[in-house]
Each structure stands twice: as C-alpha cells, then as structure tokens.
C-alpha cells in the first residue's frame, strides 16, 4: 500500500519510475477520505494544488531530476504559513486568513518539489498538549480514537502515524513536536533554537519556538530536518552556522558514545511501563557500544514554573498583533477600544486568554521583577545544568512524556494537570538544546511509548545518529495502528 511508505522508500520507487507522484498523492488523498473522518488530523486539504504539484514533480522525475523530496506528499501544521492555503493556528481569530507568503521552511520544501497535502490540526496558537484547545475540534489518536494524540502538533503526529502523509512539520515551544510524536508512536525532532528559520511561523513564544519534522523513521526525520535547517536573513534569531548532511552521518553502532541518564527524569508518579520501556531502551544502547553514565540536572523541577511565566509573557506580547485591523476576525463595536476588546474576547479560546492574562500580569508594573525577571534568571540555571552535563556526556536519554496517550476530556478542566504532560520536554526549549523522540515500546493497552534523546545546541547530528542506531536494533517504528473507522 503506497501510503505506508517512508519518504526514503517512496523516493527510491519514484526515481526508479515504479510509481508516480500523482499515484502516490491520490492514494494518500483516498486514505484521508477513508480514515480522517475518524481522526480529524487535517484542518484543510489542498486537494487541487497537491495534485498539480504531483504532476509537476512527475514531469521533473521524467526528465531525470532528483531531490530527496521530489513528489513526496507532506503535511504542514496550521501555524506555519503556506501561501494560498488557510492558516488558522487553530483559532477562530484567524478564521479565513490566507497568508500571502510562504514561511522560509516552506520555501525550501517547495524548491525541492514536495507535494503539500494540507494543513494539520493544532492546539490554538500551539498552546496545549492534546489538540483539545483547537477551536476546530480535537484530533483523535490513531492507536485509540478515544485518546488524545498529544499536542500541540497533534494533527501532524496523527497524520504521520495513520499514513495520511509521508512526513509532516510541527512546531515545538515546550514539547509540541516531541510529546505528540511520543503519544502517536512516530519520530519527532525539536531542533536547537536558531537552527531553523521562524520566518512565516505564527509566533507563540519567540525565544522558544522552533519548527521541527515528524516522520515515520529517523532517516526521514534527518532528511526533513536537513532541508529546513540553516541561516535565514529574514530571521535575526537564526544562527549563521553550517548544516551537516544529517542523513549521511547515520550509523548503526554506538561505540564510544557517552549516554547520560538524568535521575531527575525518572520520578515518582510516572507510568511504570514508560519507565521500564525507557530503561530497556537504555540497555539496548549499552549493548550497541554506548557508555551509560548517570548525570544530574539539579534545577529540573523549576522548569515548569519558569516555562509558565516566560512562554505566556512572550505570548501576551506576540498575540497583541491580533487587533482586527490587518487580518482575522473583527467584532465591530462603537469605538476602536471596544472593538479590540470584543474581538479578542470572542476570537481567542480559553487557554489562549488564560496565557495572555498570565503573561500580561507577569510583565505588568510591580510584578516584572518578581515573576518575569526571576524566571529568566532561573532559566540561566536550567541552561547551566545542561551545559555541565554535556561536558561529560554526548547525549542525554530520558522519557519524552511521563505517560502514554491520555483520554480525551480527561484533563481539560484542569490546566495545571495538562501542563504536567510536558514536564520532560520544557527544559530543552528553555536551554535552547535539541531533542528527538522515537518509539521505544507500548504499554499494556497498546499505546506507544517515546524515548527522548537530547543533545547540546547544534548537536542534531549526534542525537540523530544515536536515535538511528537504536531504531536499527528495534522494530517499534514498524508497528502500525489498526484504526477504528466508525
């Protein structure tokens, strides 16, 4: 079945002219028609433009052209601008908005001749851990449709897991690529801060946001990351450093690799099956030649409060632009101020308003030093923990999420309980380092478990290499969900 293919498998068949991009794209669209009513991974399908792009790719393939992504159907999270396709960011305030330009990541993908299948569901403005905060309805986990897919890039993770695309892009501000990858049993990469241009990404927290790939295996993730990575003159926070050829550095052994295991990431209250699966995965890495060392990240516990001050503070500033003047919803009132208040009051959902309120408070006169400045100082300590650890080890291995996919509705009334879903993925964003989540087992209910491998800033080559070696020694990534299509 064509939708089952990985990107590298499809690429081989396309370049050998065994299949066409139009056949592949049609097979994906047919599968979406059959499966997605049960999942709701997509907010918008770009049927016509996808088939046009597939025809163009086929013409280039016929002429013997070759790129790693020529004719490959991909999905894009709805917070990333794709010219001519809606971009709602999962919010009513952006209903009907069609960006007049492409994000830099999308420009790079288009240059290689990809097929953009559509835009995937997300928590509103990427604020959430379950996609339940989307104004357009929840996405269901392909492994069990009563469960969340994680979030905020839940649509992209579910689409990859259910073979509704060959690969996808999401964004990760505090775990929003890695956690849904873990809960849906796929591979997800959070690049180092500054690795990928944020131009054309609808901003949530500007010092934390990164675009990252979700893929069926580590090889595909390496390919997708390599294409979007690199300096961009349109993003002053993108680093002018070279991009290694990630895919060509993958090796199936780990001799000499020092893997750190942080004791603070194996905690009371986490699901025992998750801890067991991750410990088993670490033993597998040891059998592949890695040297396992215990490390300590003593300020780990402060990550949650630091994150929930800094991210909302940045969000409250970024979301000030939704003022009903240039784009999006307008609820017209008698004067400008009332129009702002009414539009924003009705256009933003509960979680977004909660974070704008929290961030505005933390930045307001009299509270700035106590909350925002203090959080920035503790952020320095959290970053320092990783700097120290990476003097002794090459990578850090830990769980991605303390639990497998939870039930839809289980945490919606308790925002703080929901925030805990990201307890193992926030600090990497605060420190600006890179991380990958990949499948490492299943719990007793058949729900996927994710292994997280973190590396120092701009150490993507190393985490991909370690992840690849582990993946080659296991077959978790080859398991496919049986999707209950009602």
């Amino acid at each position: 079945m064509l939708p089952n293919l990985t990107i590298h498998e499809a690429h081989d068949r396309l370049t050998r002219h065994e299949i066409s991009s139009v056949e592949l794209t049609q097979a994906i669209l047919e599968r979406i028609d059959h499966i997605d009513p049960a999942l709701h991974a997509y907010l918008h399908l770009a049927r016509d433009s996808a088939l046009r792009q597939a025809q163009e790719a086929d013409a280039r393939l016929t002429h013997g052209e070759d790129t790693p992504l020529l004719g490959i159907p991909l999905a894009i999270k709805d917070v990333i601008c794709v010219k001519g396709l809606p971009a709602t960011a999962g919010s009513k305030i952006l209903q009907g908005f069609v960006p007049p330009y492409d994000a830099t990541a999308v420009t790079k993908l288009r240059a290689l001749g990809v097929v953009i299948i559509g835009k995937t569901n997300t928590d509103e403005f990427a604020m959430g851990s379950s996609t339940e905060n989307s104004a357009y309805g929840v996405t269901h986990n392909p492994w069990n449709t009563n469960r969340v897919p994680g979030g905020s890039s839940g649509g992209s993770a579910a689409a990859v897991a259910a073979d509704l695309c060959l690969g996808a892009f999401g964004t990760d501000t505090g775990g929003s690529v890695r956690q849904p990858a873990s809960l849906c049993g796929v591979v997800g990469v959070k690049p180092s801060y500054g690795r990928v241009s944020r131009y054309g990404l609808i901003a949530f927290a500007s010092s934390l946001d990164q675009i990252g790939p979700l893929a069926k295996d580590v090889t595909d993730a390496a390919t997708l990351l390599g294409i979007i990575a690199g300096h961009d003159s349109l993003d002053s926070t993108s680093m002018p450093v070279p991009v290694p050829d990630y895919a060509s550095h993958l090796r199936s052994e780990l001799k000499g690799m020092r893997v750190g295991v942080p004791k603070e990431y194996f905690i009371e209250g986490m699901q025992p099956e998750v801890e067991q699966a991750v410990q088993t995965a670490i033993a597998v890495m040891q059998s592949l030649g890695a040297e396992i060392r215990e490390v300590s990240l003593p300020h780990t516990d402060y990550g949650l409060p630091v994150y929930y001050i800094i991210a909302p503070a940045e969000a409250s500033a970024n979301l000030a632009r939704f003022d009903s003047v240039r784009y999006g919803l307008r609820i017209d009132r008698d004067d400008l101020w009332e129009t702002y208040r009414a539009t924003r009051g009705q256009g933003f959902g509960p979680e977004v308003k909660r974070r704008i309120m929290l961030g505005t408070y933390a930045l307001s006169t009299g509270y700035y030093d106590a909350y925002y400045l203090k959080a920035q100082k503790v952020r320095t300590l959290i970053k320092g923990d990783f700097d120290t650890a990476f003097k002794e080890v090459d990578v850090i291995a830990c769980p991605t999420s303390p639990t497998t996919a939870f039930k839809i509705g289980e945490k919606v009334d308790n925002p703080l309980q929901m925030y805990l879903s990201d307890v193992f993925t926030l600090n990497q964003n605060l420190a600006g380092i890179c991380g990958i989540s990949l499948p490492c087992g299943f719990d007793g209910q058949g729900l996927p478990i994710g292994l997280q491998i973190d590396g120092p800033a701009f150490g993507e080559e190393t985490i991909l290499r370690v992840a690849y070696a582990y993946e080659q020694a296991t077959d978790w990534h080859k398991q496919k969900p049986v999707i209950n299509v009602k």
Partner: protein, 109 residues
C-alpha cells in the same frame, strides 16, 4: 518528585490575585471577559502564581537573566531595497478596507 510538587500547585485554591487585578490585567491585554471568566481566571491564575513562588527558592542574586540562548546581538540586514508584497495581496485579508488602506475606527477623537 515533580508530580508531587505539582499537586500543591493544582489543589492550592488560595486567591493571590484579586478580582480587581484580573479586571486591570484584562484591560491591559484588551480582552473582554465575562463575569464567569473573570472568576475562573482569578482562581486559575492564583494557583499558577502561587506555584511560581517556588522560583524564590534558588538564590539568583549573582545569576544573569537569559532572554535568549543565542550569542547573537543586534543583527542587521543590509539596507537594500526589495520589492514589497502587492498591496492587493496584503489587503485581501483585511476585515475592512477603504481604497488602498485598512479601515478602522478613529484612534483619536
């Protein structure tokens, strides 16, 4: 241990901010809130801010703040003229327009 700490965060129902402050912050943020929302956010923000008090534990007197992790400062592009996006494309998303401009209520009375 993180989860144990957070149970405090979840079940603490102390009101560290007043309804007055909630209204003030909503005004700063230009958000119309219903009375139900005001009360809900008072409870939820109080719980989150109480939890954030934990940040007072580590001594940060000599620790500089981290605003960005990158060693980059004042990045400027060369000031070169480039074509802009077409006006029609930009205005296509405007909730209201008048000729080649966004139409809004008067800012100054």
């Amino acid at each position: 241990m993180i989860i144990a700490h957070c149970s405090v965060f979840i079940y603490n129902r102390g009101m560290s901010i007043t309804l007055q402050e909630v209204r003030h912050v909503a005004e700063l943020a230009k958000l119309h809130l219903s009375e139900v929302e005001e009360k809900l956010y008072q409870v939820q923000l109080s719980a989150i801010l109480d939890y954030a008090q934990r940040l007072n534990a580590p001594d940060t007197a000599s620790i500089p703040p981290t605003a960005t992790v990158l060693p980059l400062h004042s990045i400027m592009r060369d000031d070169e003229a480039r074509p802009s996006l077409p006006v029609a494309d930009i205005l296509a998303n405007a909730p209201a327009r008048a000729d080649d401009a966004f139409e809004v209520h008067a800012v100054l009375e």
